[in-house]
Symmetry: C2
């Protein structure tokens, strides 16, 4: 593969592909020099061009780690204009009155199961929590899984999905009971012992939060695994109740009101992203 000569434009194209499809993975300059059969100084110039392309497209950036064990890696990122474009479009889709479900819920399964949307949401979560360096993304089945997978992809870590029952056939498992903040009913959540070793840092990702009971349940489950929760991210949370069972979280969209009489959904884009 690397025996033939690569043109500069081909090297830049390949660098874009290699770096962006392996977020957080450190590549040494020597590795690239070997792969492309080119001088390190040439690779450095290629990387400047690569940086410019990523910037123009509103993607993340390339970080340089100095020193003998150093190299470059892709840090996930979504430019503010791309984030607002996506979330405003999503807000538009989700406020269609036909989405109103019994109990003031809204139907959003189709948006979660749209891979392109989901991937972009995942890169936003990943870029926000990148510096907390989680070892895994934790969620609870079912609808949290697509968002968790996309986020984990950009953080280059695995996903751990708790089950909503205790029918675990995967060896020893830990189950906890928790009170769902909205329905006030007692639920069970389980996770196989082997799925997470102790002492890890985890990022919790889910699709929806009202009272925060499910996420509080996940946090309690994490205590059993001696894991540290470094962050909580949800796609949509409700404005009411303002007091959730979880304090520290980010939500991409806020559901202000579901007016079943006038058939109207009010929702706004969250501004957590602004520094």
């Amino acid at each position: 593969m690397s025996s033939n000569k690569w043109k500069r434009s081909e090297r830049v194209g390949a660098l874009i592909e290699m770096l962006t499809t392996s977020p957080r993975k450190l590549y040494s300059l020597g590795e690239f020099a070997g792969f492309f059969n080119a001088a390190r100084s040439t690779i450095s110039e290629d990387l400047s061009l690569t940086r410019q392309v990523l910037k123009n497209l509103g993607r993340g950036h390339i970080e340089t780690i100095a020193g003998p064990a150093g190299g470059v890696r892709y840090i996930p990122g979504v430019a503010e204009w791309r984030r607002l474009e996506l979330l405003n479009e999503l807000r538009q889709r989700l406020t269609d009155p036909e989405r109103i479900l019994p109990g003031n819920y809204i139907y959003m399964t189709d948006c979660i199961y749209d891979p392109k949307t989901c991937n972009l949401l995942g890169e936003i979560f990943a870029s926000y929590y990148y510096k907390t360096a989680p070892d895994a993304v934790v969620t609870v089945e079912t609808k949290g899984i697509p968002l968790a997978m996309a986020t984990a992809y950009y953080l280059n870590v695995p996903v751990i999905a708790a089950r909503r029952d205790h029918l675990i056939t995967e060896g020893t498992s830990v189950s906890i009971n928790y009170v769902s903040g909205s329905s006030r009913s007692i639920q069970t959540m389980s996770l196989a012992r082997r799925s997470l070793s102790s002492g890890k840092k985890v990022l919790i990702i889910d699709d929806f939060m009202r009272g925060g009971g499910t996420i509080k349940g996940l946090m309690e489950l994490m205590v059993e695994f001696e894991a540290t929760v470094v962050g909580v991210g949800v796609l949509l949370s409700t404005a009411s109740p303002a007091q959730k069972l979880v304090n520290d979280y980010i939500s991409m969209l806020i559901l202000d009101d579901v007016d079943t009489i006038n058939n109207k959904i009010s929702m706004h884009v969250s501004h957590f992203y602004k520094k």
Copy 2:
């Protein structure tokens, strides 16, 4: 964005990013010419270089559609050497005797929830079934979801996930009972009416198949939605029983035997991919 002048290497880098992150999406040459503020002939030369890069990296290819409504698009693909590398590595991981679970099952949740592996598996499924042009990828919760999302991403279609109960709060739903091929017990599977309009072509993706009961259940559910099943893909299937309830499917890996006495798992890579 497009007002400043792009260098050739920057254009090739951007083309790689734009095409591969929007598989199956048709871009006209005029669109690219406008975006890069360059002549169409220049873009054509850039695309030749882009093709070369994708080939060298073992990715898919760029298809050209002629005519006024034509353009170019990325067709998902994984070179045979990359496919074998991935599946042999996966076989290695999955045959660790510690994975043996009661009932001759094997633990593979961690491999499914590994986003990088999952993405590559998805691109393999997508490239195999690309020509059948499905409108959606259908799976059943929970472990089929990551593979279905990855496959759907490369086919640029949504995922439809059936539930294993009938607790659907998403309006009218269709439920069916099916006999699990392995446990011989009667199970329920449901799907909200609104999640799939009638007359669509669907691709079924799941993680595991023994008897084929679950997938047959999904196929029966699809009849209720007047959908045509264009293909069935699973990550792992068992060699026994040789006679499944489903005839036409591809499986990436075949589980030949789980020998609980000698603590040994036998598995081989399937060769469906060879033409």
